[in-house]
């Protein structure tokens, strides 16, 4: 950007300190003058910004940022995936947690900065795709460009002389290329042909499919609803928000969007491998439901299995977990039944060793007649094998043993603070003591009863029911997302594997009435297929228009470029001198795909 000036202003020369007044006239130091650029107005800056945003370089940068930005979401607990982990993190990392909160790192994928990255990326994508689509349509409406003057400069070139007339040659070439599904036409003394438009079609389809994917995903997230419900055999469920155990939904979801249906869990069946290396893995794992659509729909029966949800309208009912619910009867000292229900216990391992709490909240009066609450810690081994006291050995109910530890007092449920159904708050309860003065706990088989001391009552383990956990999900846009994904794959494959190339065949009359045939091929991106294809075409054309004898050595019509060196590497290994990717040999030829002068 420097200009040399033969004459500078007199003041500048005079002020040159090193050389003094006389010497400065001799100085040939180039004088730096600021270039005289016009100032950009707002529109100018906007244009510049847009141009930069839609450039490949910025797209690259945004892609890099996107992958970098996704990393913290995989390493830091995310509130959308596991809220308890986030809460634990907040408790243990008192310094980092507020920092993360400020940066939105507990919900990275819905945070402002992550959204900014992918929104900018998609704006860049759209801003690039639209002009490119327009350009492509223009190419489709137009015709393949005519032959360059010097075909010898193209990556693949061949020539021979034939006795046929130039028109014959051109007709033959046109027919051959058309048969090979090139778009071909006569252009002056040559035939111009092009093939491989599906590459660009694939490229555009892929990028547009990404936009469709994004919109479908965002739509699904906004209108999504997902809830869990644990149901014991025999119980039912209606799809209203109050019945869910837990529920979360997208921002634009309203409870009116819930599909109205109800179902009853008739039976859960789980059978397991009893032998072999996969002992204990489920062979069947299914829930038999009777369901009805709407408030007045007819009952229908269906089976829900893991990986096979039940579709009711837009809702999908998934079977996600299962466990056992022992049926417990609690009687007070007088023999009145104060509690009789199936209590779901939560599994701890793959053999469904389970734990939970039986809570008798009302109706129990102790031996003194005082109203109390009873909490019983329950621990179930579906298959008890002597020797393995704390873990079940098989998931089925082969030999169930229920360990019960009762407590009495105040369970804390009347305080207004929510507590887990599966956990016992022991702060205001007392354990019972057995005859030896130890804490009372007992192991019961189905049908057995344990007595509470001093006439406090009894607990009976009647039988065991099974429960199943269902997840009800509504998420629109999944079909669009799938469609977008499939189009993306096929478009991507097309854009990477199909070669876009042009072939020209020129026939000019040479000396001695012979016609000089020249064929050349140019690929959009370099590949061995272009010379191979040219070779095939040349072979076929040569068969139709066979060569004429060579002329004398002083033939002026020799089309070889005199600047070509005689240096030819005579190896017939076509692969070893592959041209470099995406650079073109001749600046007059259309620049390679995506190459930019930035």
């Amino acid at each position: 950007m420097s200009k040399t000036t033969a004459t500078g202003t007199p003041t500048e020369r005079a002020e040159d300190p090193d050389l003094g007044a006389a010497g400065s006239q001799l100085s040939t130091v180039p004088r730096e003058e600021l270039p005289n650029l016009p100032s950009l107005g707002v529109i100018g800056w906007a244009r510049w910004f847009w141009r930069q945003l839609t450039s490949m370089r910025v797209a690259l940068l945004l892609l890099l940022l996107l992958s970098l930005g996704a990393i913290p979401g995989s390493l830091i607990p995310q509130s959308g995936i596991d809220a308890t982990k986030v809460a634990d993190f907040r408790k243990t990392h008192t310094f980092l947690a507020p920092v993360y909160d400020k940066l939105g790192l507990f919900h990275v994928y819905s945070s402002v900065w992550f959204s900014a990255i992918y929104i900018l990326l998609f704006v860049s994508l759209i801003g690039c795709i639209i002009p490119r689509t327009w350009q492509f349509i223009g190419q489709l409406r137009g015709r393949p460009p005519g032959a360059p003057k010097r075909l010898t400069r193209l990556p693949a070139y061949t020539t021979w002389r034939t006795g046929a007339e130039p028109e014959q040659v051109r007709e033959a070439a046109l027919a051959l290329l058309k048969k090979r599904r090139f778009r071909a036409h006569l252009a002056g003394d040559a035939v111009a042909a092009e093939k491989g438009y599906l590459r660009e079609v694939g490229n555009l389809a892929f990028h547009i499919a990404l936009i469709v994917l994004l919109i479908a995903f965002a739509w699904g997230q906004l209108y999504k609803s997902e809830g869990n419900k644990l149901i014991v055999e025999g119980d039912g469920f209606s799809n209203t928000i109050t019945q869910y155990d837990d529920f979360k939904s997208g921002n634009l979801f309203t409870t009116d969007d819930l599909v109205p249906f109800s179902f009853t869990l008739d039976k859960f069946t789980g059978t397991y491998e009893s032998n072999g290396p996969n002992r204990g893995t489920p062979r069947t794992y299914q829930a038999a439901l009777t369901y009805a659509k709407g408030a007045y729909g007819k009952d229908k029966k269906d089976l829900v299995k893991v990986n096979e949800p039940l579709h009711i309208g837009d809702a999908k009912v998934y079977l996600t977990a299962h466990g056992y619910a022992p049926v417990i009867t609690v009687r007070d000292g007088k023999g009145n039944v104060v509690y009789h229900d199936a209590v779901p216990l939560l599994p701890l391992d793959s053999n469904v060793t389970s734990t939970g709490v039986v809570k008798v909240l009302d109706g129990y009066r102790n031996a003194q007649g005082v109203s109390e609450q009873i909490g019983i810690s329950a621990f179930l081994l579906p298959t008890y094998t002597p020797g393995s006291e704390t873990a079940s050995t098989f998931p089925a109910l082969d030999n169930p043993v229920l360990n019960l530890t009762p407590y009495h007092g105040d369970l804390g449920v009347d305080s207004g603070i929510p507590q887990s159904v599966y956990q016992l708050d022991k702060s205001h309860v007392k354990a019972y003591k057995d005859a030896k003065g130890q804490q009372l706990r007992d192991n019961l088989k189905p049908g057995q009863t344990m007595r509470l001391p001093n006439g406090a009552g009894s607990i009976t383990y009647e039988s065991t029911k099974e429960w199943a956990n269902f997840q009800v999900v509504q998420q629109p846009g999944t079909t669009w997302a799938l469609g977008g994904a499939l189009v993306a794959i096929f478009g991507l494959a097309g854009s990477l594997f199909i070669q876009r190339r042009r072939v020209w065949v020129r026939a000019t009359p040479g000396a001695d009435g012979v016609t000089v045939v020249e064929m050349a091929g140019l690929g959009r991106s370099e590949s061995a297929k272009v010379p191979d294809e040219l070779g095939d075409l040349a072979a076929i054309l040569y068969d139709r228009l066979p060569g004429a004898p060579e002329p004398g050595p002083a033939d002026p019509a020799d089309p070889a470029d005199p600047a070509d060196p005689a240096d030819t590497d005579a190896t017939s290994d076509a692969g070893s001198a592959e041209p470099d990717d995406t650079t073109t040999p001749d600046s007059t030829v259309v620049p390679a795909e995506g190459a930019e002068k930035q």
């Binding site: 490949m56 690259l60 892609l63 992958s67 994928y109 290396p277 794992y285 494959a493 010379p531």
Partner: protein, 357 residues
Amino acid sequence: MATNEHLANISNTLIYSAMGVYTLAFFTYIAEWTFGSRSRIGRTAAALTPEAKAKAAKAPSVTVQTAGGTAVLERPKVVVRSSAGARDVPDGPGAHGGDEKGDLYGRIAISLTVLAFLVHLGGVVARAASVERAPWGNMYEFNITFSTVAVAVYLGLLALKKNVRWLGLFLVTTVLLDLGIAVTVLYTASDQLVPALHSYWLYIHVSTAILCGAVFYVGAAGTLLYLFKDSYETKLENGGTPGRFATSFLERLPASSSLDKFSYRLNAAVFPLWTFTIIAGAIWAESAWGRYWGWDPKETWAFITWVAYACYLHARATAGWKGRKAAYLALIAFGCWLFNYYGVNIFVSGKHSYAGV
């Protein structure tokens, strides 16, 4: 029970035997390289002396190939030119450097690799038979299957007569490392799959992941060697003298542009399959977990790997990012793939944590 223990023992024996044969192949490859270092032909160096470069700058390299197979003399010859400015460097002769003894050892090494591959494959099949399911239910099985596929890719490329013999030593080293980690740190007796994994998607999603990983690995190996060869060629171009070891070793590798093209083709060819792997995973997640995308750590890192390879592909089409910069991106992308496998399975907990460790 007796059958599956028997098969499991057979599998372990076969895997250890395969490691033994791979070690033999490893030493034979080293012998090939050692004997090949006797060759003194400096093809790259000759092509990149300042005089040769001045000549090349004016005239792009030209090869002649014959059109059609038969009747060579009568067919028109197709003249292929590389673009001006590209280095006109011939491919190196391979590890054996043209030395006969080296070449012999090279062929022995390949035969040993084939034998090791067959034993290895037997070990994988025996493991699958002993657990009665696909041999990729935990990290141990994934590792042994992955290395089998990587060797299969190498042997497949050799069978297609591609110029990949130079890859032999690096491949065998990686396979030995991979199997070593598998049998020591990752080994588990046969494990049970959780119910959600009981789906035919296990065969589709994980098998494509293994194939993609193996091809990405071969591409990454090519990219790494490309970077070395490229600095070597640049040094020669600028009149420098690389060290003796660098000269001896890098001289025998293919030209940097061939290596670059090799890696690009592999990465680009398998990128659609990686896209399919992610989508297959999403479809499976939809039927197993109720949502097709939940930013689970494994899902996230598969996505990051995909974006990183997309970056690489974009870089190859951007002026100023071709060549070395794109190569670095490819290596970063493969690093993401490795973290996706080792890092996420071992260090991060999420829905994919049943991978065994």
